[in-house]
């Protein structure tokens, strides 16, 4: 993806993610909605899901303590493995 595209998607995607945060009610609950428009984080975490349209993020959840991953929940087997109840039961 050329750099100009990344810049544009960065901007538009953060607006979209913010819109999702607002419309879903998640932002009101205090959840931060951050756009990984260039997929830099997704790539660094090794969670690239290549689709014909774009790079998506494989569904995941994790807990990090001071920047270090202490619990990781993959969706490789079941999506529900990444949902909050699974996370809470591991804490």
């Amino acid at each position: 993806m050329i750099s100009i595209c990344i810049f544009i998607t960065y901007l538009s995607h953060s607006r979209q993610n913010q819109a999702w945060g607002r419309n879903s009610g998640g932002a009101a609950k205090g959840i931060r909605f951050l756009a990984d428009g260039s997929a830099e984080l997704t790539k660094a975490l090794g969670l690239v899901m290549d689709t014909p349209a774009m790079v998506r993020t494989k569904r995941f959840s994790l807990i990090a303590d001071d920047g270090v991953v202490t619990h990781y929940f993959s969706s490789a087997k079941e999506s529900s493995d990444t949902w909050a109840p699974a996370v809470l039961s591991a804490l």
Partner: protein
Amino acid sequence: MLHLSLLFLVALTAIASISSVSAFLPRQTVAASTLFTLSASSSTAAETTDMPEVQVGDKIPSVDLMELKEAGGKPETVNLSDLIAGKRVAIFGVPGAFTPGCSKSHLPSFMEAQADLKGNGVDMTICVATNDAYVMEVSDNQCSNL
């Protein structure tokens, strides 16, 4: 970036060592070793785009993400490492905002769990997505019944 630079250096070293050896070999062998060098460097390039999946003990990379806090405002750059330094956080990633699995299960589960997460010392919950055209096509109302 450090990983990329290191792999690049390793590839360069490999090329350099093979080239120096090939100086003492007959011409046909040189051609073969050149091919080997090319394939070795291309496989190195492929590995750099395929990072291993995150695991317990890994450090969350220092990457800049974008956040829009208020409708109509300007998106702001948020460095993930800075944001989560000294905190216990939950981070979840989804294939796309507004996609069914994300809007109907993953995100709502974390919305409902906020009090329990805070009770377990989780200071902040962060949702990340690369996002796509889904969000452009979905009307506001479709996600209001969560």
